[in-house]
Subunit: 185 residues, 2 copies
DNA sequence: GTAATAATGGACCATTCGGTCCTTTATGTG
DNA sequence: CACATAAAGGACCGAATGGTCCATTATTAC
């Protein structure tokens, strides 16, 4: 046996996520990642193939941890879950908005694996939203369409977080949207 | 008198806009701009202070040209204008979505002047939307709130354009949203 | 303690970056 | 034609980039 690692893979990812989240793949330098993770370049390149690989794994872990929260799978399904989903835009890992939504901007330049994760995640959320809407409103034809609107609205508020509005404003916005789709406006 | 310029300022901007739009400020190299505009570096740096300046001016021209379309000022004000606004997300300059929405992702890293233009534009659109909603629904207290939702939805669909959905899908989404806010759902 | 092992630290590399500057070339005036 | 003027072409710069590689150091098993 030799010397043992001073870091775990998850440690590195959790520290890399906020950096990629804030600055994106292209605008994040390896030096930035060294500083954020406290792991030297050689260490990073031992654990990950290259910068893109580190980005992809960060994105994967982001969804893994986030989905583990189960905001759209809590029983009973319904409006409460939909609202919980929207509130994911408050952020995590010390960042505002959504890592994936922020990455959409450079979608075309992202590695295929990253694109795959993102698209897959959207589809998964879409289906989960349909299930929750069905529980809340019954099996209606327009559940699919409405789920699409919810996703779009989520993208919007998540992106707007980059402009740095206070939480009260965004909460009111979510409330207004929930009222709208619940038909109590 | 000496040799005359082979390009106009507007020419350069119109050719730079799609590049910045697609790749953002950071991921666009001066070389990319040379190729896209057909103007050599020296020419670009004679006309513009630096890359950031060219970006800011591109953004400014984008809004100038776009707003000149008058999609939110056409008389009579009302729902039609709101829908016209949402359809701006179809794109222009050969690009999909919205240049400004795409730039929101790197908002924090943008030059102050660019941020100023973007924020100012959002406020302007917000007010124009309020005016149109007032014309469409009467002077209601929640016009302000609803205008906010429209802007957020616009951000969402514009961003989603980066995933490359077909126009039919996005049109249906806009229709569904319009139905929702017009209260005919 | 000693040898084996594996991660760390950091020198190093080619390339690309944004940006400057000088020479060349084209266009205008008389 | 000759001169003046201004833009175009492109060499050039230091800095930063992503990535490689090796010597050093720390930790294990014996």
């Amino acid at each position: 046996m030799g010397r043992r690692k001073l870091f775990t893979r998850e440690d590195v990812l959790d520290k890399a996520i906020p950096v990629f989240w804030k600055h994106g793949l292209a605008e994040t330098s390896v030096q930035d990642l060294e500083q954020a993770t406290g792991v030297r370049k050689s260490g990073l390149y031992t654990e990950f193939k290259d910068k893109e690989d580190l980005f992809v794994e960060s994105l994967r872990r982001y969804f893994d941890v986030l989905m583990a929260g189960g905001y759209l799978t809590k029983q009973p399904l319904g409006w409460t879950n939909v609202e919980s989903f929207l509130k994911v835009c408050y952020g995590s890992w010390g960042q505002k908005g959504c890592f994936s939504v922020n990455s959409m901007r450079e979608f075309a330049d992202l590695p295929p694996k990253a694109r795959q994760i993102m698209v897959g995640s959207v589809m998964k959320h879409h289906q989960l939203l349909i299930d929750n809407l069905a529980a809340a409103r019954g099996a209606r034809d327009d559940n699919d369409s409405l789920a699409g609107l919810v996703i779009t609205f989520f993208s919007g508020i998540s992106l707007e977080q980059n402009l740095g509005p206070d939480r009260a404003r965004i909460t009111k916005k979510i409330d207004a949207f929930m009222q709208l789709i619940r038909g109590k406006g």
